[in-house]
């Protein structure tokens, strides 16, 4: 859960970028925010103005930034709010900069792929970690690192659409309401999970749960002083001891916090079971011998002497050689990973004054690990966390300070804005105080929840963005018009932009109606779906854009569920079968037959739109590490000379050539693997629940029953028929279609209701591939379709690449989840066993790429997710408008509404459509 918010932030960025194509806005920026000329001054160029007409399938309902729950709502939030920081194209000064002499945009100066981060509603940003009040308790190390506390100064001309002034008080009021515990606003977690504002979580949850406060924060000088005062000190055994998942002898799970006086003994569940099974010394000795352990005499003690002990049976030169113990009990305990503890034991052994391990001084008040100990503070009404304790406060008429528990480097070393500023903090909650107060709804009978209808209708909406809501009809339409009180229109950087004066949006749920409306010239944009792609693929009005959408064929492979589903499909639990299925799929054919014109073949867990070096535009997929990982997954091996071969038709290719030649399609090898899978099935029919007299049935599940989905099921049936031909499984596979798995199709798949999820995947988070891989290797991630694969216990050994960091060259063994957490700097926060921190900036990108590639390779080799396609969106834009550039930019899209060029005014457009006979179908089919 921790830091998963980071992903949303990036998804939000993704949404903004995506919306720039369809109907989005990006805020505008100005390096000199207090200055700026009116756009009409000193220019001769006058851009045409017009209304942009778009549509939506689902109307927004709640465009309150504090409470919105889905992306439909961002249709309006994007327009009526301003960005604190924003992105813009990079314009080449040598080519004349952003504007031509007549004031028009100098398109030729746009730097391909370039971007700049600019101030928008904020005029200044200052790192104040060193100077904030001592109450925020930043350590010397944190002060040295910086980035924890920021002073944000807003422009002094911010106004609501009715002219009401916006200042620091407005932001402080809004943050207080965002975190208001009476409302439980849905987006509050942005400020305690993403930005980690100090005490935000405690304040937000103050009505609901208890918290564990450090001893020092409750006014005690030492741990002993708290004990003397009768306080019960609790130990965070998840963080300190990695005891998450441990149980007591009765199987009750251990809580995160355990009293220092608690004598209940906890251990890993499997250890308890082993002790139960091997309950005598003789049995334990037999076990050790069965496991290959041996009793060795004369082991060198390194001090010139020898001793006798049990070892794990490996050769002493082997890296895995381990001495277990001198007695059977000791050796047994070590071998099975006995980790028995109680709160009292830990206290006495580690933390009590004078404890043998001597940790007491590290957990004392004010010491680095004081958070390992806590005192439970009940939220029973007499405990108050005031908003004044939250790390967000007014610092001046137009400035606030935000104090966080995590460091963010919003400024580069030269003092300019980093892309992270607009990435993590493009907005802060802001509501219009008087209107918000009026919109508050008291709890009804039986409820304690306050609610608000702020920003749910025209009358309850206030805007401080480039547009304001002027009409809204639920389930039908809305209209946005220029907000003349928006500060951005006075900024020099924005002149001759925002030429769209009005946006109308109609709710058109039916696809065919959308198309007819577009062809009649009534709406200005539409996405190209598979029904229309053939007709409009070469249209001069079409644009095609790669997205982060990465989709796979998901194969449900959890044996205990498969065995009991009555479909005789335990073969799915055999890795060779899944791999054979994967190798039978010709991705190019899949694209052509299933997703023509809307996708391209994709082999990686993350497609080619994931950037690891934002400033320099480098993508993960283009990295050497990623390419090597994929080649290995798809059957290539690296030769001693660095060339690559696949054991079949490709020999000694260079990395680039081999990567280019890789297509993941190998029907011959697939057949061999199927035979291997069959042999396993035949050898252990009971284990796999296999009945050779019955067909192997795989359910292909979808939310809707339509010809397209049935065609896909048929396609897969043909693939399996071809795969099984001339094997003992010929004719055994039956793909059954179920078009009624419901709206919660993802949950149904995860529960094993059906076995094939075709085209399931994810999109978003383009700027953080390291985090996105969690969809495969974090068994608690909501995007993970295979949570039964316990990555929190499955270990992986990997030798860290050489480099300038502590773990350089070390061979480490950790759970996959732990690897992931280390890669993203979550390990300590999540209480993992190993707490290495290889987050961005902590180690070089090359190191991180190696670990990411290892995780990707490990995940793909399971073949739970058989990667298929990367999304490729096609869209048509009416001739009424054109983009400023048709070169897609990661941060700017095609320029969005801000840079739209209006080719026809509204009246001209009406004439144009009439001139075409009221039907633009032929026009839209014209090629360049």
């Amino acid at each position: 859960m921790k830091n998963r918010w980071k992903r949303l932030a990036s998804i939000a960025v993704g949404c903004v970028m995506a919306s720039t194509v369809a109907f989005g806005f990006v805020g505008c920026g100005d390096k000199k925010p207090d200055g700026g000329d009116n756009s009409g001054d000193n220019t001769t160029y006058v851009a045409k103005k017009g209304t942009y007409r778009t549509f939506t399938s689902v109307m927004p309902s709640n465009w309150n930034l504090m409470t919105y729950e889905d992306n439909n709502d961002t249709q309006i939030t994007d327009y009526i709010n301003s960005d604190l920081f924003t992105y813009d194209y990079e314009f080449d000064a040598a080519k004349g900069g952003k504007f031509k002499a007549d004031g028009s945009i100098n398109v030729d100066a746009i730097v391909d792929g370039g971007f700049v981060t600019q101030y928008s509603a904020v005029s200044a940003l200052e790192d104040v970690t060193n100077t904030v009040d001592a109450k925020w308790k930043y350590t010397p190390d944190q002060k040295k690192e910086g980035g924890y506390a920021w002073k944000i100064t807003f422009r002094d001309d911010l106004k609501w659409d009715d002219g009401t002034v916006i200042n620091a008080d407005s932001f402080v009021y809004s943050m207080k309401e965002q975190l208001n515990p009476d409302f439980l606003n849905f987006r509050a977690n942005t400020y305690y999970q993403t930005l980690m504002v100090k005490n935000a979580r405690n304040y937000f949850y103050k009505n609901t749960d208890a918290t564990y406060e450090t001893v020092g924060s409750l006014g005690y000088e030492s741990n002993q002083a708290a004990i003397d005062d009768g306080k019960d000190i609790l130990l965070d055994v998840y963080t300190f001891y990695g005891a998450k998942g441990y149980v007591d002898a009765e199987g009750n799970p251990v809580a995160q916090w355990v009293s220092y006086k608690d004598t209940t003994e906890y251990n890993a569940p499997e250890v308890w079971e082993l002790y139960e099974t091997y309950d005598t010394v003789d049995k334990q000795e037999d076990f050790l011998i069965e496991e290959g352990c041996v009793f060795v005499t004369g082991i060198d003690d390194g001090k010139g002497g020898t001793y006798d002990a049990w070892t794990n049976g490996k050769d002493p030169t082997d890296k895995e050689y381990k001495v277990l113990g001198k007695t059977v009990e000791e050796a047994f305990a070590v071998y099975i990973g006995d980790d028995l503890f109680s709160g009292e034991m830990l206290w006495e052994f580690f933390f009590a004054p004078g404890a043998p391990m001597g940790y007491d001084e590290y957990v004392e008040v004010g010491q680095p690990y004081e958070t390992w100990l806590g005192i439970r503070v009940e939220n029973n009404g007499d405990r108050t966390v005031n908003f004044e304790d939250v790390g967000f406060y007014k610092a001046g008429e137009n400035s606030v300070v935000i104090c966080m528990d995590k460091s963010y480097q919003f400024l580069k070393k030269d003092g300019s804005l980093s892309y992270l500023a607009a990435y993590y903090m493009s907005s802060l909650p802001l509501v219009k105080e008087d209107l918000y107060e009026r919109c508050k709804q008291e709890p009804t009978a039986g409820s304690t929840l306050w609610t608000t209808n702020y920003n749910t209708s025209k009358d309850t909406t206030a805007s401080w963005g480039p547009y304001k809501l002027t009409q809204f009809q639920g389930g039908k339409s809305y209209t946005l018009e220029r907000n003349e009180n928006w500060y951005g229109y006075n900024m020099e950087e924005n002149k001759n932009q925002y030429n769209v004066t009005k946006i109308t949006c109609e709710c058109i749920p039916e696809d065919e109606t959308q198309w007819l409306s577009f062809l009649k010239g009534e709406i200005d944009d539409i996405g190209l779906d598979t029904d229309h792609i053939a007709d409009y693929m070469y249209s001069k009005y079409a644009t095609f854009t790669s997205t982060t959408g990465t989709y796979a064929m998901q194969l449900y492979s959890n044996l205990p569920v498969l065995k009991n589903n009555g479909r005789n499909n335990g073969i799915l639990a055999i890795q060779e079968f899944r791999k054979a299925f994967s190798l039978s799929l010709n991705r190019d054919d899949v694209v052509e037959k299933i997703w023509p014109g809307t996708a391209i073949a994709n082999y990686g867990a993350l497609n080619s739109l994931y950037y690891y070096d934002i400033e320099n535009g480098k993508t993960y997929r283009d990295s050497v590490q990623a390419k090597k990982a994929l080649l290995r997954v798809y059957g290539f091996t690296e030769n001693a000379d660095g060339t690559w071969s696949n054991g079949a038709n490709i020999s000694n290719y260079s990395l680039e050539d081999a990567y280019e030649a890789m297509n993941g399609f190998n029907p011959e090898l697939a057949k061999e693997l199927l035979k291997e899978a069959y042999n396993k099935l035949e050898a252990n029919p009971e284990y796999y629940g296999y009945d050779s007299s019955k067909d192997i049935v795989l359910i292909y599940g979808t939310q809707v029953d339509n010809p397209k989905q049935r065609q896909r099921a048929e396609y897969l049936q043909n693939i399996l028929n071809t795969l099984a031909k001339d094997t003992p499984l010929e004719g055994k596979f039956k793909v059954e279609f179920n078009g009624n798995v419901g709206a919660k199709w993802g949950d149904a798949f995860k529960a094993g209701a059906y076995e094939i999820g075709f085209g399931f995947g994810f999109t978003g988070n383009a700027l953080n591939p390291f985090d996105m891989i969690s969809a495969f290797v974090d068994d608690s991630d909501n995007l993970n379709y295979h949570k039964y694969w316990k990555t929190s216990s499955e270990t992986k050994t990997f030798t860290m690449p050489e480099g300038d960091y502590a773990e350089s060259g070390k061979t480490l063994t950790m759970t996959l989840k732990n690897w992931f957490d280390c890669l993203n700097g979550y390990a300590e926060l999540n209480g993992d066993e190993y707490t290495y921190n290889w987050d961005a900036g902590k180690v070089a990108d090359d190191i991180r790429l190696e670990v990411l590639a290892m995780l990707e390779e490990t995940a793909l080799e399971q073949y739970y997710s058989v990667m298929l396609i990367a999304e490729y969106n096609g869209a048509l834009l009416s001739p009424k408008f054109s983009y400023i550039t048709y070169d897609y930019n990661l941060f700017m899209g095609y320029g969005g509404m801000r840079y739209f060029q209006v080719n026809y005014t509204d009246s001209e457009w009406t004439s144009y459509v009439s001139g075409q006979g009221g039907n633009l179908e032929n026009e839209y089919k014209k090629a360049n």
Partner: protein, 336 residues
């Protein structure tokens, strides 16, 4: 007096039936398992806590990481008590909670806003459909077994055979798109009684009423054909009534005993809105609301809509029963 007592009795029974149905609805929807899923970047605990604060769940169960993984349901009767209290004391039917398009909006306001388009289209459909349907049926019956009858029969069969979605597609493609006689979609706004709005509703009205026209015509033809051959019709003619007089004064009235309830039931059926037609012509009606409220498990929307449709159905039953007495004087409800 008999009629009055009968109506009172029926109303009393109706209220009892209504209460039982609503109790069952409330219980069943509340018995559905509560599933809370958090998307990327969301905190499921907030959703759980909101459910608790709304009085739906209690006694959370946590996983090791402190995430809420389940809760007990607050007793359904307790929830029902508060639900009824809010309605009867404060006129509050609740707020949209999980229906994506209507979160944080009072369910009554949404319902009241969305009902008029559905009702209007239904009324227009009936106003246009009934006379045409009856007219065609009468002509077919009067011209039975002539080419006119055959032609009408062919039209009836065609209209009955084609699902309304196909009719809607044809109307939309040819009349709205190709010929440009009507707009593709219903106009926005709440000014329902102007020419532009009426015109924008017509494609949906036609799509809805064409099927009804066929139904009315079929019923009318069948009933009227039978009645026209009755002995009392011969008597009426021999008494000196013209064919038209005999048909409209006697035959039609007798036929209506069957036809009128069908008109009423058709009206009620359409009142619930047509999911397909409303989607196709972008009509902001109630068609999708009921189904969506069940899918989204939005209790307050579900209960309000269940109550509305239940009440309409029960009232219609009474109205149909009573109407028999007016259509056919031989039928007297409640008479011993």
């Amino acid at each position: 007096m008999y009629m009055f007592k009968y109506v009172l009795k029926r109303l009393g029974l109706m209220l009892m039936t209504f209460a039982v149905i609503m109790l069952v609805c409330f219980t069943l929807i509340k018995l559905l398992p509560i599933v809370v899923n958090a998307g990327a970047g969301e905190d499921a605990n907030i959703t759980w806590l909101k459910l608790e604060a709304r009085g739906y769940v209690c006694n959370f169960r946590y996983d090791e990481a402190g995430n809420i993984i389940g809760a007990d349901r607050v007793p359904i009767m307790t929830q029902l008590f508060y639900y009824l209290k809010n309605i009867f004391l404060y006129g509050d039917f609740g707020m949209g909670v999980s229906l994506p398009e209507y979160r944080n909006q009072p369910v009554w306001d949404v319902f009241a806003e969305k009902l008029p388009p559905t009702v209007l289209i239904n009324i227009y459909s009936t106003i246009i459909g009934v006379p045409i349907g009856l007219g065609l049926g009468i002509i077919a019956a009067l011209k039975k077994n002539t080419w006119i009858d055959q032609l009408i029969n062919i039209i009836i069969i065609l209209l009955i055979s084609l699902p309304s979605i196909v009719l809607a597609l044809i109307i939309q493609y040819y009349f709205c798109y190709k010929l440009d006689w009507f707009p593709l979609m219903m106009d926005s706004g709440f000014a329902y009684f102007n020419w532009s709005m009426f015109k924008s509703m017509l494609p949906a009205v036609f799509a809805l009423c064409l099927g009804s026209i066929a139904g009315y015509a079929r019923y009318t033809r069948a009933e009227l054909s039978e009645v026209l051959t009755s002995e009392f019709m011969l008597l009426a003619r021999t008494k000196g009534l013209t064919r038209g007089q005999a048909t409209f004064r006697h035959a039609m009235r007798n036929s209506m005993v069957v036809i009128f309830p069908s008109i009423l039931s058709e009206f009620i059926a359409v009142l619930s809105g047509s999911l397909v037609i409303e989607k196709m012509f972008s009509i902001p009606g109630v068609g999708r609301l009921y189904l969506d409220s069940i899918n989204a498990q939005d209790y307050d929307f579900f209960m309000l809509l269940s109550g509305f449709y239940c009440l309409v159905g029960l009232l219609a039953g009474i109205v149909v029963d009573i109407s028999y007495g007016f259509i056919d004087p031989r039928i007297r409800m409640g008479a011993k």
